[in-house]
Subunit: 157 residues, 4 copies
């Protein structure tokens, strides 16, 4: 059970709908595996189309999964009608992204009215074993009273 209480009772449907609007996730083959208030796990299968020069998944693709996991985790705690943008993140690559399947697991560390801080970890499943391959810490920003379509969005100057 999550230790967070969502402000928006429809958090699950809204977060899933926002994720569905991320066409990059579909292109990368990333989907939601688990969704709780302040927590999100995403999953991705290996694809040779996403590799770097050694045949491992590219660090930027791993980061895309970690960032989306953080965004969705943070979004579950935001009020109805809010938009969300990533402010910053840092990724540490701990081991080559070698495996058949990858998991991106994010949790909110500090929710806030404006800023939410998340941490996430990426795991690779390879030959039946699971390896921690990357970590992320990131900051997400709520755009209060803004919707999630381009027309609604006016980024603060």
């Amino acid at each position: 059970m999550s230790r967070f209480q969502p402000k928006n009772p429809d958090y699950r449907a809204i977060a899933a709908a926002t994720f569905e609007q991320q066409r990059a996730m579909k292109t990368l083959g990333i989907s939601i595996a688990r969704l709780e208030p302040g927590e999100a796990d995403l999953a991705m299968d290996y694809s040779a189309d996403l590799t770097q020069q050694h045949g491992f998944i590219h660090a930027g693709i791993i980061t895309a999964g970690l960032d989306s996991a953080c965004g969705i985790a943070a979004f579950t705690l935001m009020p109805a009608g809010a938009g969300i943008l990533t402010v910053e993140f840092k990724t540490n690559l701990l081991a080559p992204a070698r495996g058949e399947r990858f998991a991106f697991c994010a949790t909110v560390i500090k929710p806030g009215r404006t800023l939410t801080v998340c941490e996430a970890r990426a795991y690779a499943t390879h030959d039946g074993g699971e390896t921690l391959i990357a970590t992320m810490s990131g900051t997400l920003m709520a755009l209060a009273g803004r919707g999630t379509t381009p027309e609604d969005l006016r980024v603060p100057a």
Copy 2:
């Protein structure tokens, strides 16, 4: 003219070949626009397949471009036969990745035998104007005496 002197006279061909081996770059439509010792500029056209929920390019895709630019910039200064891995990076997202075309420009800040530190900036071209949309600072690691094929690569324990 670059302020760096490459150790490998074939740096340009080797760096370009390594980039070509990154199948993720082809998938994302990212190509080399400029290559000098310690510097690399990559270019990417807008694609709706790479967007987040507001129709901007996903922060993870922007990061993939910045990371590859840093990797190639660092790689130009490494000795022949070296492999390269990303240790860590941090991305600050400064403005929505809205535009028709994107540039990822990296430069080596501190080359080293083992670790090389790079900085990179991402720019969006939109309606004829160019906007700084993201910055990266990152650390790359040379794998001395290792080739660039998966068979050659043994990540240090």
Copy 3:
């Protein structure tokens, strides 16, 4: 000349006064060397009291100088009556902090109503030569309509 236009004509006096209120800066022997809209340079003499186990200045002390430089640089562009807090920063240590004197030079990369992103560099002067020893990228947050005394400050929930 700075490329930024300060909103507060008294920016210089206000920023200097805020810096003076940072008692940690006095303890560490850090002072303002230069102040322009969106830019701040701080200076510190070597002190054996601030060293790590190899006799170099401790990375945390270097970071304190870089963070204060970023904070003051960002503060010069904020409106009258604003408070400021650091959201996050990342430091890359490029060379040992060996020297007689240190400079912390920050510049605003992206000012904003709520968030301001800065970059900073630390230099050591040693035997007449200057070495780049560290870089920082950081995010600062304006607390609108709040003063700079503890009584005025209520951090957003």
Copy 4:
């Protein structure tokens, strides 16, 4: 009990001795509270000499505590005779550093022959309650075969 097996049976004495050599820690009033293989907790009392403009502990001082905790945690797993340097770290500031006492708790996430990645958290004790005020992720580098005195140390080019 720690999940790590130290390579150096004298890890505790060596790590404590290295910490004692950090004169900055004495200046800041930071001491070792707990030391296990791959883990280190440091403690610091509030001091008005270490504050920023709102009377909270300066973010750079908090970072100094987090960095030293990471360094000591990483050092416990390194072989005898190794030196250690910080490569990079990122700090997220989650809440004002207000309190009577502060704890800096670091743990190794990924040990390595050359690079070790750590995570750390800073807590403030205020009016009997404990608050998570900051997080760090950082990379430390082992300098193999080098001692811990300035004479022994030759940083790799």
